[in-house]
Symmetry: C2
Subunit: 205 residues, 2 copies
C-alpha cells in the first residue's frame, strides 16, 4: 500500500535549521522566510504569553510582508525560550556568556517553552499554543562545560546548548516533548494540520 502526500502551500516563518529539519522529516515542501520583529518582552509579560505573542507576530509578519506567497498558504512560526529561575536565557553573546548560562543550568531543572502559530491565509484562522518541556541537567564537571563551550555549539542556541547535538551530554532527563526542545512540537503541529485537512496522506488508487 502506498500513499500520496498532499498539502496546502506551506511557509515556515523561521530561519532555524532545526525547525526546517523537523518539517523535512515529513517530506513537506515549504518556502522559508525569516521575519524581522522586535523580540522584546513587555513589562510583567508572562514567559508563556511572550513566546506565544512572538510566534503569532512572526507568522503574521511573514503573511503580510511576503507578497509572492500563495493566497491559500499556511504560515507556520515558532519561538523557543529557555526559562530558569524567573529569567529568560537567550542566545549567548560570547563564549564566556555561554559558560555563565551553562553554569546556572548545571545540575538544575529548567523549562523550555515553545510557542507556535499556524496561520491559514485563506480563512485568517490561527491556531496557536505554547508547549512546555522540563529539562534536568546532569551535574557536569566544569572542565566538561569548558570543552562543550569550546566546540562552538552553544553559540546561536537559546540557553547555550543544543539537545540534539553534543549538548545531549548535559541532559539527564526530560519531561514532555523532545521536539519542543529541538525547535517546536512538530507532533502537535502535524496533528493540527491533519485535523484541519491542510495535510493528508491519501491511499494511492
Amino acid at each position: 500500500m502506498s500513499y500520496i502526500l498532499q498539502h496546502r502551500p506551506l511557509c515556515l516563518a523561521s530561519s532555524s535549521p532545526r525547525r526546517k529539519e523537523l518539517l523535512q522529516k515529513f517530506n513537506l515542501a515549504f518556502d522559508c522566510y525569516s521575519p524581522q520583529i522586535d523580540e522584546i518582552r513587555k513589562k510583567k509579560e508572562q514567559a508563556e504569553s511572550f513566546v506565544k505573542r512572538m510566534a503569532i507576530e512572526k507568522a503574521r509578519k511573514v503573511q503580510q510582508s511576503c507578497l509572492n506567497l500563495a493566497k491559500d498558504v499556511i504560515v507556520l512560526a515558532g519561538d523557543t525560550i529557555v526559562f530558569f529561575n524567573g529569567q529568560i536565557l537567550g542566545k549567548p553573546k560570547t563564549a564566556n556568556h555561554a559558560k555563565s548560562m551553562l553554569r546556572q543550568l548545571n545540575g538544575n531543572l529548567h523549562s523550555v517553552l515553545s510557542g507556535y502559530s499556524i496561520l491559514d491565509s485563506a480563512s485568517g484562522n490561527e491556531i496557536t499554543d505554547v508547549v512546555c518541556t522540563r529539562v534536568k541537567f546532569q551535574k557536569i564537571p566544569l572542565d566538561l562545560l569548558e570543552w562543550y563551550v569550546s566546540t562552538g555549539e552553544p553559540m546561536g542556541k537559546s540557553g547555550a546548548y543544543s539537545i540534539q547535538g553534543q549538548g545531549l551530554i548535559l541532559v539527564e532527563s526530560i519531561v514532555g516533548s523532545y521536539n519542543n526542545v529541538v525547535g517546536f512540537p512538530i507532533e502537535n503541529i502535524i496533528s493540527h494540520m491533519s485535523d484541519n485537512g491542510w495535510i493528508s496522506y491519501s491511499k494511492k488508487t
Copy 2:
C-alpha cells in the same frame, strides 16, 4: 581554546545504526561487531534483568570472539526493549504485526528499557546499568497508523516505531532520557567513560 580528543580503543558490540550515530556525535573512532547471542528471556526473568543480561552477554561475546581487537579495548553493548502491559514488544515480523503492536501502544503509556554494558578488556571490569524512559503515545487515528506502517519505518524497530523518525508523530511526551529510546543512554555512557579516564578532552598546549 581547542581540545584534543583521546580515548582507549573502542568497540561497539551492536549493528544498530542509531547506536553508531550516537557515538559518532562525539567524534569517537570505533570498530563495530554484531554479536550472535540467544536473545531469549528466561522464565520469570524480570524485564530489567533480561535487558541487562543481554547487554552483558553481547559485550562479553564480542570481547571473547573477536581476536583482532586491541588488548585494552573498551567494548560497549546495549539492548533495548519496549515493555507494555507486562509484555516485551519485539521487532515486528510483518506489516500487520507492526499495526497490531502500534494499536496496543496507541493512546497509552509504555516503558522503554535500555541495558548497557561497558567492558574494560584490560582490567575485566564491567559497568552495567538499565535505564527506563516512560513514553506516552498520542491517540492516533487508525488511518494515520496505517500510513505510518506503509512508510516501512516500523520494520526492524522494537515496538514498531522509531522516535527519531516519522514515528515522532506518535509520541505525546516522554519522561526520562530521550537517547535511551533512540538506542542507549549515551549521556550516561560518556559520563562513565569520562569518569574512568577512558575518554578525555585535553586542552591543546
